[in-house]
């Protein structure tokens, strides 16, 4: 029997099948139709809800906007879930007024997601426009939405922080804020020292699981192992030589982590291009790696950084370079029952990182090709040691060892570049798909290499090298 859910102001039982889709649960079981189904794949944010929880070992609840179309009801056991119905007061809130009066509402189908995202922004002190970066609207052309965000900007800081303060500002029903007081911390779930049980559904941030289901509508195996609840795996720690990231660390957490910003200043900004804000709040590093998408944004970054993985099973923990983790299309070195517990990134003073990605749309899109390069400080006129990776050019995220070797320690000349590009062509095998033709992806990766080199050596004149 799972812990109940506080749904807006009342406590409700969750379905026994913890794989029940959360959005269906809200709309069908509870008649809460303000939350909309528009894409069902986490691509439009019409279904956003505020998910509040107190992580194990903590006392303060944390609320964030998440995609209800992606989550299963098991994810929200013991949580407080606020839908648009729970935000409503007798008169429109400042957020609702801003959207309505500035022309941010036309057909109104995407509006609930916008109201939830903007209310969450005011709660957590985020920039309103950044908070709705993943909310798609087909009517307004975003003019009215942008104006509403501008109007809400003066309200965006300092954050309301907690629900009562949000209710005091007239942005939330007091009864719902009150209900939040009943929230209890999650029980502490120890890291599974023996890996996963033989037959179970393993999820982390659950941002991809439902998408796969949507295509196959497969019945999911019980029980569920929810890695995102393991506190120990949510930590980021550093020692002298390594940065240790728990597999359940989210993308958003990486973006806000001072240790990461200090080490690789461009990385948090680059990760703005990883899916949408609400997905980044749920999606985990471990999930991004284990899913083995050929185009996984973070896998490509971590390959260039020479990351290693800790894999845990009944046999204990083994450590494996990420570069050896991918074996074939959607196939990894993970054995039955084995889980990624940590990701370790070597810290090398003076090493710089550049990440690049080309997609049809700048934000919230899957790359045609993405690539990262890490480079050690070289000597005068010579490239330092290079590590290079790319996604979208092979059945899995690829470490371009030989191309990197062709560049490392070489003078930065057209000759070096042409040699490296020739090597690169033998290392990759892109295919034709909706993200681009084989030929395009090949040539694009050439240009991404130039982009890396120019970013890391601003004096380079790339146009003279092509």
């Amino acid at each position: 029997m799972s812990r109940p859910l506080i749904l807006n102001a009342t406590t409700v039982a969750l379905p026994t099948d913890e794989g029940t889709n959360l959005l269906s649960f809200l709309r069908q079981h509870h008649g809460l139709t303000a939350t909309k189904l528009a894409c069902g794949t986490g691509d439009c944010a019409a279904c956003l809800v505020l998910l509040g929880e107190i992580p194990a070992g903590q006392t303060q609840p944390h609320y964030q906007a998440v995609n209800s179309c992606l989550l299963s009801t098991g994810r929200v056991a013991g949580c407080h879930l606020i839908t648009l119905e729970g935000l409503n007061l007798a008169t429109p809130t400042l957020v609702q007024q801003a959207l309505a009066e500035e022309g941010g509402i036309q057909c109104g189908y995407c509006t609930p997601g916008l109201v939830v995202a903007l209310t969450a922004a005011l709660l957590n002190g985020e920039q309103p426009a950044a908070a709705v970066a993943g909310n798609l609207c087909r009517c307004t052309g975003y003019g009215g939405i942008r104006r509403a965000c501008t109007r809400l900007e003066p309200l965006s800081g300092p954050p309301a922080g907690q629900l009562p303060a949000l209710a005091d500002r007239g942005l939330l029903s007091p009864a719902v804020a009150q209900a939040g007081q009943r929230l209890q911390p999650h029980p502490s779930i120890p890291a599974p020292t023996h890996g996963a049980a033989p037959a179970c559904t393993i999820v982390a941030g659950e941002t991809d699981h439902t998408v796969q289901q949507a295509h196959h509508r497969a019945n999911t195996v019980q029980p569920w192992l929810r890695l995102q609840q393991i506190v120990e795996w949510q930590q980021i720690q550093a020692d002298r030589h390594w940065l240790h990231l728990g597999a359940a660390v989210t993308i958003a957490q990486c973006q806000h982590e001072p240790l990461i910003a200090a080490e690789w200043p461009n990385l948090p900004v680059f990760l703005d291009r990883f899916a949408s804000p609400s997905i980044r709040r749920s999606a985990t590093i471990g999930g991004n790696l284990a899913n083995a998408s050929p185009i996984a944004d973070l896998a490509v970054v971590l390959l260039a950084l020479g990351a290693e993985l800790s894999l845990q099973s009944t046999n204990g923990i083994r450590r494996l370079p990420l570069a050896q983790f991918y074996l074939a299309y959607h196939r990894t070195a993970l054995q039955a029952g084995e889980l990624i517990s940590h990701i370790h990134i070597p810290r090398q003073p003076g090493r710089r990182l550049h990440c690049a990605k080309v997609s049809k749309r700048w934000l919230d899109d899957i790359a045609s090709v993405n690539s990262s390069m890490a480079i050690d400080a070289g000597t005068e006129g010579q490239l330092g040691t290079v590590q290079l990776s790319a996604g979208g050019v092979a059945p899995y995220p690829l470490c371009l060892h030989r191309t990197a070797a062709a560049l490392s320690g070489q003078p930065l000349t057209a000759n070096t570049l042409h040699t490296a590009l020739a090597v690169m062509d033998t290392e990759i095998a892109p295919i034709d798909d909706v993200r681009g033709s084989t030929q395009y992806k090949r040539r694009l990766l050439h240009h991404l290499l130039l982009d890396h080199l120019q970013a890391l050596h601003p004096t380079l004149r790339w146009e003279e090298l092509t």
Binding site: C39, G103, P112, N135, T140, K360
Partner: protein
């Protein structure tokens, strides 16, 4: 007219998520769910449908096929070539051939993927070239002509020619198609349909079920977006729901998910074209000739009307004395393409604008110098015989160009590109001239039912479907203005075919003009009856009574509206009116292609700026400025929103939105992960100015229609990006192939072949 400071209740309901879209309606007890089983082949024959596996799915209640249709298996509007469920032959991937009805949507979905048939695949045409080779045209080619093109080439100083390809686009209304059918105890049916065309649904449901139209009520509430995609193609879902409800005598809902919606419904017509433009030594357009080909998909749908509007708008906002444009509609084995905001006009205008860029490239001058020289002037004649009356092409252009707004932009961009190797800038100006009216003249009629209740409140029903474009707000204002009441006293109701009958679709940007016209007439009819009552109360001549600010006024005396209504009711005065409106003076002879097809034209000009990263081949639209001819705006905020939304929709079509099929005709871009519409980040800030209004007639209360014309501004995204690309790769100036995705930009900059 005042701009209301209070939040209208409809907006408040939307902001609070209280509005019930069709997909939000509470399901009645025993409601079943249905989904169609669809063809896996682009073209195939079948004789047996195998339902066994689907029927074995727990919860599946029935599999219906064409044999279950009681009357005629036909849901088409024009050509009787579109069955509800395929019989013996399927013509595209995604064509429904069976309907799975189940207790749950999950069971219906599973069942729909288990139905199969004994397919015999047949040859399929997926592109226009193969359709042409097979002689597969929907209708004979049509030609609009003016002057004498063949002779005129001889008078030209230069003649340019080229080819154009324009991609398709998905409507991507946020609410997918939806219908809910409820059997009535009298044997009739109540249909809740998310449709732009309630009477289209009405007629088709009657055809399918064999019920007389009076036994069917179609209710169309607010839509979560339409954009033309729910004009013809909502009918399929409503008819499937009606069929299942009739057969099983239980309520049935159809609500396809995004991927099924994208796979099954038609989209914007892709076009190909060949153009030839001749200019004199002063850069004046002398002659224009174009061949247009549209990919219609497998059945007629609205393709001939869309093709016709392409012909109407082939010369955009330019005066050209000698014109000949021929348009072909190619029948292919794809889902039938359909209405989409702009209705074929943007495709034809893209061809015209391409021809101008080709000429500018050859003359080595900025395109805007040629455009400015050739804008329509008063009295210029369109190829369809209509005269341009007070065209605002030059006025809007000049307003945009004031203080050298266009010229300095060009200088700034040229200077920037001279020093920047990597990030190149470009610009484009695109004017629009868009004819307002259904080109099928008969559709230019509307009905409105206005009830004044004894408490003085007013309810109005028209055929206007609210889908975000603000037409209900406009009708509400028109009624409030006419009756002299606060807008809050007027409620606009969802369309029901029992309250208004035989309504035209809400389309062609005509919603406010036609339905507002009918609503205004109904109000005037009621006021005519109230006038003597008011005159008696005010002790004044009837001719002096005015209705303003919630009162009837005459000679400094006034009586509140409520009292007037109470008195009128006591006197047994009829407080309701059903009025009909038909646009005056419209006629068109489709044999001669001559007439007066439009009530008026909408004009405007947009300037767009873009940046291209030459190294990576990515593009971005930086800024948009627009001067738009809106007449006397009924609601400036709504009109601004329509312009902003249309521009971004057009821009998406020109840049990131790409429909891809595989070689078997299966849609590859069938979800929002692979089909990318603009987001906030990619949508530029848009500066809009309305052209000062001179008080002339145009549409309802001197306003002008707004829905479609500004979509044409979105074409500037292509030409601005192309302009930026051209500064690096001059050969790109002659390439007219939309959309300009990242891959397409890269190809233009660096070639498509290995270095």
């Amino acid at each position: 007219m005042s701009t209301a400071p209070l939040l209208p209740s409809s907006l408040q309901n939307l902001a609070q998520g209280k509005t019930r879209f069709t997909s939000d309606l509470s399901l009645p007890q025993g409601c079943l769910h249905a989904l169609p089983a669809t063809s896996p082949h682009a073209h195939a024959r079948f004789s047996q449908i195998d339902s066994a596996a689907a029927l074995a799915v727990p919860g599946v209640r029935a599999i219906l096929t064409a044999a279950d249709i009681l009357r005629r298996n036909d849901i088409s509007n024009l050509a009787h070539d579109e069955p509800l469920l395929a019989e013996q032959e399927v013509h595209c991937v995604g064509e429904p051939y069976a309907l799975v009805v189940a207790d749950s949507i999950e069971a219906a979905w599973q069942g729909s993927h288990l139905v199969t048939a004994d397919w015999t695949p047949l040859p399929a045409c997926l592109d226009m070239a193969s359709a042409l080779a097979a002689g597969a045209l929907l209708q004979p080619p049509r030609t609009f002509a003016l002057g004498d093109v063949d002779t005129a080439w001889g008078c030209c100083a230069i003649v340019v020619s080229g080819t154009v390809e324009i991609g398709s686009a998905e409507h991507l209304y946020m609410e997918t198609q939806c219908a809910l059918a409820l059997p009535r105890d009298d044997g009739g049916l109540l249909l809740h349909s998310a449709t732009q065309s309630p009477s289209g649904v009405h007629k088709a449901v009657a055809t399918i079920t064999g019920l007389p139209m009076h036994a069917i009520e179609v209710v169309a509430g607010r839509l979560g977006g339409g954009f033309g995609g729910k004009e013809e193609q909502a009918t399929l879902w409503a008819c499937l729901a009606a069929l299942a409800a009739q057969r099983l005598q239980q309520p049935v809902r159809l609500w396809p998910d995004r991927s099924d919606d994208m796979r099954i419904t038609g989209k914007r017509h892709p076009y190909q074209a060949h153009f030839k433009l001749g200019l004199d030594a002063n850069g004046r357009f002398v002659a224009y000739e174009a061949q247009l080909w549209q990919n219609a998909g497998w059945c007629t749908d609205l393709s001939p009307a869309i093709l016709e509007r392409s012909l109407f708008h082939a010369t955009n906002a330019y005066a050209i004395p000698h014109v000949r444009v021929t348009a072909h509609s190619c029948r292919t084995h794809l889902p039938s393409n359909t209405a989409f905001r702009g209705f074929g006009a943007p495709q034809a205008i893209f061809v015209m604008e391409s021809a101008i860029r080709a000429a500018a490239h050859q003359l080595r001058c900025p395109p805007e110098t040629l455009q400015a020289r050739n804008l329509l002037r008063d009295g210029d004649v369109f190829p369809y015989g209509m005269c341009a009356q007070q065209p605002k092409a030059e006025a809007s252009w000049q307003m945009l160009a004031r203080e050298n707004g266009i010229a300095t932009c060009r200088q700034r961009i040229t200077a920037w590109n001279a020093t920047q190797p990597r990030y190149r800038k470009g610009m484009a100006v695109v004017p629009v001239c868009f004819g307002i009216a259904f080109t099928a003249t008969l559709l230019n009629q509307a009905q409105a039912l206005v009830h004044v209740y004894t408490d003085g409140s007013v309810a109005v029903t028209t055929g206007a479907i609210e889908m975000g474009q603000g037409v209900h707000g406009k009708v509400q204002r028109i009624v409030a203005e006419t009756l002299g009441l606060p807008v809050a006293q007027v409620q606009v109701m969802p369309t029901s075919t029992l309250r208004v009958a035989n309504v035209s679709p809400t389309a062609a940007s005509t919603g406010a003009d036609l339905n507002g016209g009918a609503a205004r007439q109904a109000c005037l009819d009621i006021l005519q009856r109230l006038r003597p009552v008011a005159a008696a109360l005010l002790n004044a001549p009837a001719a002096e009574v005015m209705f303003l600010e919630g009162h009837a006024h005459a000679q400094q005396a006034r009586v509140p509206w409520n009292e007037l209504i109470a008195q009128a009711y006591r006197q047994r005065i009829h407080l309701s009116a059903l009025a009909h409106y038909a646009s005056a003076n419209l006629h068109f002879d489709p044999q001669r292609n001559q007439g007066q097809p439009f009530a008026y034209h909408v004009y405007g000009t947009a300037l767009m700026e873009a940046t291209v990263d030459v190294l990576l081949g990515t593009g971005r639209i930086d800024a948009v400025r627009v001067v738009h001819d809106i007449g006397h705006s009924l609601d400036a905020s709504t009109d601004r929103g329509q312009i902003e939304g249309a521009i971004v929709q057009g821009m998406g079509w020109m840049t990131s939105e790409e429909i891809r099929h595989d070689s078997q005709g299966r849609l590859l871009t069938d979800n929002l992960a692979s089909y990318k519409i603009p987001d906030l980040d990619s949508s530029p800030p848009i500066e809009i100015e309305f052209l000062p209004h001179n008080g002339g007639p145009a549409g309802i209360l001197h306003s002008k229609a707004v829905g479609e014309p500004p979509l044409v501004y979105g074409l500037a995204a292509y030409f601005a990006l192309q302009d930026a690309i051209t500064s690096w790769q001059p050969q790109a100036a002659a390439v007219f192939r939309a959309p300009l995705t990242s891959e397409a930009i890269f190809g233009l900059l660096h070639g498509n072949d290995p270095p």
